[in-house]
Symmetry: C2
Subunit: 123 residues, 2 copies
C-alpha cells in the first residue's frame, strides 16, 4: 500500500489516516519501530515538517510513542488498536449508508450493488 495523497484535502490529515490504517491493519505491528520522520517524509514525498505534524497527532492519540533518539514506535496496547479499528469501520459504514440514503437508495439496492462490485475488489 503506497502513499496515496490527493490535493483536495490537507496532506497532514491524509497522512494521519493512512498511518492509522497501517497500524490497524497490522502493517505497522504493535510495539514495532516505524521509519524515521525524514525517511517517512521521503517515502511519501512530503516535507518532514508535514510528516512530523501527522506523527505528533498520532502520538497525542496514543497510537505512537517516541524515544528521543532511537525512533518512533507503535503502541503495545493491542486493545486500543482493536478499538480504533472498530471505530474507523463503524464511521465508514455510517458515512457510506448516509450518502447512499441521501442518493435515494433503499437497503436492498445497496446490498445488491455491493455484491456486484465486491467480487472484483475483495478478491
Amino acid at each position: 500500500m503506497g502513499w496515496e495523497l490527493k490535493t483536495d484535502r490537507p496532506i497532514y490529515a491524509q497522512l494521519i489516516e493512512q498511518i492509522e490504517l497501517r497500524i490497524c491493519a497490522g502493517i505497522y505491528p504493535p510495539g514495532s519501530r516505524i521509519p524515521s520522520v525524514r525517511d517517512l517524509a521521503q517515502e511519501a514525498s512530503v516535507n518532514p515538517n508535514t510528516m512530523q505534524r501527522a506523527l505528533a497527532k498520532l502520538e497525542e492519540d496514543g497510537l505512537l510513542y517516541s524515544h528521543r533518539t532511537s525512533g518512533r514506535f507503535v503502541t503495545e496496547d493491542t486493545e486500543m488498536i482493536r478499538k480504533t479499528r472498530n471505530k474507523l469501520a463503524k464511521e465508514q459504514v455510517q458515512v457510506f449508508l448516509k450518502k447512499m440514503k441521501d442518493l435515494g437508495f433503499e437497503y436492498g439496492e445497496i446490498l445488491s450493488i455491493i455484491s456486484d462490485l465486491a467480487e472484483e475488489m475483495m478478491e
Copy 2:
C-alpha cells in the same frame, strides 16, 4: 437536508457535492429553478463568490444552466441525472469497500456490520 459544511475540505468542493446530491435525489427537480446565488450563499452561510464557484462548475458539467437574469435551472436531461446518480453511487461503494478491505475486513463481516447499523439509519 441542511447545508453540512466541514472545515477539513474546501467549501466550494462540498457545495458542488451537495448540490449535485440534491439534483440526483430530486430535491431540485429537472427543469426547476434553484434559488439565486445570493440566496443560496445566505442559506449555506458562505460568501456569494464561493457559491458562484460551485455553481459554475456544475454548469460546466451540464447539470445546471443559467438565464442571464431570470435565474439558474436544473437540466431537463433526466438521463444525465440518472447517470450521475449511478456514477456517484458506484464511487461511494468502491471507496467504501477499499477502505474496509484496507482495514482487514472480509466480505461477510462487512455485510453483517452494515445490517447492524442499517436499521437505525435507513428510515
